[in-house]
């Protein structure tokens, strides 16, 4: 593919609002995971990554119809790091119709619906009048919110492929730019805490009773997180700074195996990584760091480990940053692309948090501590329910 420039980006998660907060936590290898006391959820013995002050975010009155936790988190994210101003500048350069919005989410504003179901009319069963389906519940609602926030008039959509959603949007945006339909795209992902995912992963017995420990021999499952991750994607200018971050490749595949378990040998994951390398015109040996999907469930990490070992051997430094952020589901691809961008710009490799004893059965080079190595090209994995896989290759301009 033709490389694209991540000309601006920002992320908000349990590591804090904006890039500085996240970078500080990553450099100190600190985790944002805390015991779960979300909303009325006090009966799950698990840890979560809750973004601070989401409910204090007040949407502008003109966007009141979009009010739900997911869009409050999106709005909060858009206020950080001058991201909104960067998008406004891109709109001024390219025009309202030439800037697309492609965001990933798995559950959008479903929490709003969960709360509305508690307030059903006791006689008719009807949902309350103040529940607005289109702008809060519908899967598209977060992209609709962002499109309206910026008063954009170009193409927009949500990609909702569970936990690969906000990695796949990079591919959709790249194809749309390549086809000449747009000149820039707001991509990324927003997924927020809700009861469906907390009780859902609990029903599958995939929640860890402790902060998740990716690739640990005693890993017990995942910790749910939430995040808003935004990237402005444009064609690279001729005079890019050396530390400018480029999207070099996107690879996608499907497991065709099972709805909630990965292919046991990680075949689909391996195909996605190989396709991303091919898309970037690179070899496995060109990759300096892999941000693993690494959810810390026994099956997921084992399958991903096999896939990475098959393609990269035990040479390439790798880690999952979900011990720090939790699994932010539909926002994970975008959030972890931004973590990769920070690593590329700042010149370090983030070690995974919480992992005490590496699983000896997984023959990859897993970093449990930050490494003072400046990567030039990195790969980020995002896999999800339904056997959906997406890998991104990012690199420095020079």
């Amino acid at each position: 593919m033709s490389p694209l420039h991540l000309s601006h980006f920002t992320a908000s998660s349990c590591l804090g609002h904006g890039l500085d907060a996240m970078q500080t936590m990553l450099l100190q290898q600190k985790s944002g995971l805390r015991p779960c006391h979300f909303e009325t959820v006090n009966d799950l013995a698990t840890y979560i990554g809750e973004t601070p002050n989401v409910d204090a975010a007040a949407l502008p009155a003109t966007l009141a119809a979009h009010n739900c936790r997911n869009n409050r988190l999106a709005w909060l994210g858009l206020q950080q790091d001058g991201f909104s101003a960067a998008v406004e500048a891109a709109i001024a350069r390219h025009g309202r119709r030439r800037v697309g919005v492609f965001l990933g989410t798995s559950t959008a504003g479903i929490l709003q619906t969960e709360l509305a179901y508690r307030r059903r009319d006791p006689v008719s069963g009807a949902l309350p009048d103040d529940f607005i389906y289109a702008t809060t519940h519908n899967t598209y609602s977060v992209a609709g919110f962002v499109r309206e926030y910026f008063q954009l008039e170009g193409p927009a959509m949500v990609v909702s492929t569970a936990c690969s959603s906000s990695a796949k949007v990079f591919g959709s945006a790249a194809r749309m730019i390549e086809a000449g339909l747009i000149d820039a795209a707001v991509v990324g992902g927003v997924d927020s805490l809700c009861l469906t995912t907390l009780y859902g992963f609990n029903s599958l017995e995939l929640l860890a009773p402790e902060p998740c420990r990716p690739f640990d021999v005693e890993r017990q499952g995942l910790s749910i997180g939430e995040a808003a991750a935004f990237v402005l994607l444009e064609r690279p200018a001729d005079d890019l700074a050396a530390d400018a971050v480029l999207l070099l490749g996107v690879g996608e595949s499907s497991d065709a195996h099972h709805m909630s378990s990965p292919h046991p040998d990680g075949l689909g994951a391996r195909m996605a990584m190989a396709a991303a390398l091919q898309s970037a015109g690179l070899q496995a040996s060109d990759i300096d760091y892999i941000n693993l999907h690494g959810t810390a469930t026994p099956g997921n990490d084992a399958a991903e480990g096999k896939a990475v070992a098959a393609l990269f051997g035990d040479r390439t430094p790798s880690s999952s940053t979900k011990g720090a952020t939790g699994h932010t589901l539909g926002a994970a691809g975008g959030l972890e692309a931004i973590i990769c961008a920070i690593a590329l710009q700042r010149g370090f490799l983030p070690g995974g948090c919480n992992t005490r004893q590496l699983d000896p059965a997984i023959p990859i080079r897993y970093l449990t501590a930050n490494a003072d190595i400046a990567p030039r090209r990195v790969l980020s994995n995002s896999f999800g329910f339904g056997g959906t896989n997406c890998s991104l290759v990012l690199g420095r301009a020079s």
Binding site: R97, R118, A134, P155, K168
Partner: protein
């Protein structure tokens, strides 16, 4: 202002399922107005390509999606394993969503693990992979009422970018109450297209699309127009009608205001 860039592909197979529209061969004369439209409740075929264990677990939305996907691929005589897939839906599995929300609003919040993994918007894509064995990329898009247009745009840019065939599956299933009152879809509906980068022996028509400023076309038949207006994937009906008519036609499909999608169809003879 019309944006100049147009995208081109060849349609090799069509799948269609809606009330009174049992499949593409049955729908074609109705859409071409040589046979009268008779509204009838939709009968969704069982997804026989799924293993029995999975077949028991799927709801109506997956069945609709898989039925039109299979019809289009069979008609195209295409190898499903070679096709990338784009699924487009506004609401995905409404029955499942309602069941989960009811349990979460009750005193016992234990939800079913099967319901949970079926709640993802990409459940039909996952089951399609299991049914077809396709390990090719599959993406899943949603743009509320513009979901058909978003899916068509995504599929057409994929054909252009990777020069390989793409299966587009647009589907919708109605919500049960109380969500139905907030988001009323009168029926399930599905429309699938096999889009190829080159003309082949099975090609039915060439399709070109571009983003335009124009008012979307409507259906002359009032009942079909009601479907178009009330079911997001049925926003593709004017395209299906153009295909049913044979020959050459240009239709405008609803997309995200102020943009519409102009679609040019030219039948292969």
């Amino acid at each position: 202002m019309s944006i100049k860039h147009s995208l081109e592909a060849w349609i090799d197979g069509i799948g269609l399922l809606g009330p009174g529209l049992d499949n593409w061969p049955a729908a074609q004369p109705v859409l071409a107005a040589t046979t009268a439209y008779v509204a009838q409740p939709l009968v969704v075929p069982a997804p026989l390509a799924l293993p029995p264990a999975e077949r028991r677990r799927v709801g109506q939305s997956v069945k609709i999606a898989l039925a039109v996907a299979q019809e289009a691929v069979t008609a195209a005589q295409a190898d499903a394993k070679q096709l990338a897939a784009v699924f487009a839906s506004s609401g995905a599995d409404g029955d499942n969503c309602d069941a989960i929300c009811k349990v979460l609003a009750s005193d016992d919040r234990h939800i079913s693990p099967t319901r949970f993994h079926n709640s993802v918007h990409n459940a039909p894509a996952g089951y399609w992979g299991i049914a077809s064995g396709a390990m090719t990329p599959a993406t899943v898009v949603c743009a509320y009422d513009a979901s058909f247009g978003a899916g068509l745009l995504e599929a057409m840019t994929q054909v252009g970018a990777v020069a390989a065939g793409v299966l587009l599956v647009a589907y919708e299933a109605p919500y049960p109450e109380p969500l139905q009152a907030k988001r009323p879809h009168p029926s399930a509906f599905g429309l699938a297209l096999v889009l190829m980068p080159q003309r082949g022996p099975r090609s039915l028509a060439r399709i070109r699309i571009e983003l335009v400023d124009a008012v979307a076309d409507t259906m002359a038949n009032a009942e079909l127009e009601a479907l178009r207006q009330q079911i997001p994937c049925a926003r593709g009906l004017p395209l299906a009608q153009a295909l049913a008519g044979g020959g050459a036609a240009r239709v405008v499909l609803e997309y995200l205001a102020p943009l519409s999608l102009a679609v040019e169809i030219e039948a292969c003879n």
